[in-house]
Amino acid sequence: MTPAVRYRRWLPMAALCTLALAGIWVPEAAVHGVDLDRRLAAPSLAHPLGTDSVGRDVFARVAAGGVRALVAVALTLAFGLVAGVALAALWFASPRGLRAPLLRLCDLAVGVPSLLVALIVAGAVGLSPLSAALALAVGGAGSVAHLVIELGRGAARSLPVMAARALGGTPLHVFRRHLAPTLAPPILLVQGYEAGRVLLAWSALTFLGVGADTGQPDWGAMVFEYRMHLFDAPLLVLGPSAAILALALACACVADPRAPASTAGDPD
């Protein structure tokens, strides 16, 4: 497998990130600039997706919403990964009696309805990529911990790790050279799936709008706000919807099960 093929599954994600990051350079006026003289304008070169009911540029809003969505997804995955690995480390470090309750705690984290927790957190402190990530990461932390514990138990008993320890390798050395390379690929694969799930949850949160700042150009909020214009200006709904779809598919591409990271065959 050549590197070009290995990185190809990152292409859609890279393209979308570039497009969304272009949203950072969109002048603030275009995102929030109200211009009642050009309400519901048809698509043009100046406004590729037209303008909304108060004359804001829809493309600029979709791009700006994309940056917030990417931040929310990245933060959620990062929190889940750190908390999950910490939980797993705690499990490995704890005596036998404490291990079962810790596993039950991970089960509980996986079973908690994350959207509901996120709604309550958003109601308490307001909806932002940070607050949403803190709540949505709970489930991810549980599943990462499970995965690391499961894989780590196997890896700790594997021949190379035992050999490295017998040769006097420090724990850091064993972790860096033997454990991390074994554990990383499956965890990253799961994170790819998780990214799509988190993106949909973030969209749902912004759609429901609990504790949200209604001026923020989030994709879910845009669909909620523009759904009245489904007939007179369908692009207003289609733009953010297509953006969610494209980013979710890009996440699915990254987590493609046929990629070399997984040896399991595709069932269908």
Binding site: L119, I120, G123, L200, S203, L208, G220, F224, I244, D268
Partner: protein, 302 residues
């Protein structure tokens, strides 16, 4: 005996969480509710409100009172209108239950049928379950819901999603929850059924001359059903959020919209009731899945 103790512990932890979580939100209901009612929150007004709502008692006292009343079916009163929470629940619970539990049951049934058909070699079933899984993974439920309103409510005019009777109002949301959970579950069923089909007893069944469809149903089906029951426990948590989204989209007067308002108003009794119900729902699905697993899987009966 031990299992009963675990369930009892879970329920106790649940009531504690349901009581504590709303109180952990910043802000006191006195401010939000008085503001909503257009009353200036002077110290006297706040004092009168907290006294009337029984919030001036100590926290353990409030908890004990809540539990004592719950035991006799009194869920307390909403802080906003003073209406009994039990009456509000009775109005809204059936709608949420049809959409959530009904949708999950429909989705599980569909997954079993699709998954086994795909395992038996049906291309259509395999492609369909794959597309449903992709839909759930890439399209937000509210976008699919808008498309469904557009198609069935506006273009075809089969149903009136916002008017009409109870059935018409909940038909689309229930179908959405079912379709969203069916895809991934169907692929899981197919995967497990195929694993069973590689085992010797299945080869024997086929060699006896059992037709493929019947052999799959009889000998690979239980394996698919076991995997399905195990996966239901995780899916139940998703259904809570999914139901909230479709209820808001279709303006169905279920529990979720009530809860969303209650968070904003810090309506503690309503939030307590909602969290308690969601927790009970998760515990019930867990218990149901465990019972189904025990029934389906003879290896667990020892």
């Amino acid at each position: 005996m031990r299992r009963a103790a675990v369930w009892a512990g879970l329920v106790v932890a649940l009531t504690l969480a349901a009581f504590a979580l709303p109180r952990a939100l910043p802000g006191h209901p006195a401010e939000t509710v008085l503001f909503r009612q257009g009353v200036v929150p002077t110290p006297e007004a706040v004092l009168a409100f907290t006294e009337q709502a029984g919030l001036n008692r100590s926290v353990p006292e409030q908890f004990a009172l809540w539990i004592r009343r719950l035991a006799v079916g009194d869920w307390g009163r909403s802080l906003r209108g003073g209406e009994p929470v039990a009456a509000g629940l009775l109005d809204r619970l059936p709608i949420s239950l049809i959409i959530g539990a009904g949708g999950l049951a429909l989705g599980a049934g569909l997954a079993l049928v699709l998954g086994l058909a795909a395992a038996a070699g049906s291309r259509t079933a395999a492609v369909l379950s794959r597309m449903l899984a992709l839909l759930a993974q890439a399209v937000p439920a509210f976008v699919a819901g808008l498309a469904a309103i557009l198609l069935f409510g506006v273009e075809l005019r089969w149903i009136r999603p916002f008017g009409g009777g109870l059935l018409e109002r909940v038909a689309l949301p229930t179908a959405l929850v079912a379709l969203y959970s069916a895809g991934a579950l169907a692929r899981l069923v197919a995967l497990e059924a195929r694993r069973a089909m590689a085992m010797p007893f299945f080869v024997v069944a086929r060699a006896k001359g059992l037709p493929m469809a019947m052999a799959v149903r009889r000998h690979a089906g239980p394996f698919g059903a076991i995997a399905l029951a195990a996966a239901l426990r995780v899916e139940a948590a998703w259904v809570v959020g999914g139901t909230a989204v479709v209820e808001v989209l279709f303006a169905a007067p279920g529990l979720s919209a009530w809860m969303v308002d209650a968070i904003g108003d810090r309506d503690w009794p309503v939030l307590q009731a909602y969290i308690l119900l969601i927790g009970l729902w998760l515990i019930l699905v867990q218990a149901f899945a465990n019972a189904a697993l025990a029934r389906l899987d003879p290896r667990r009966r020892r």
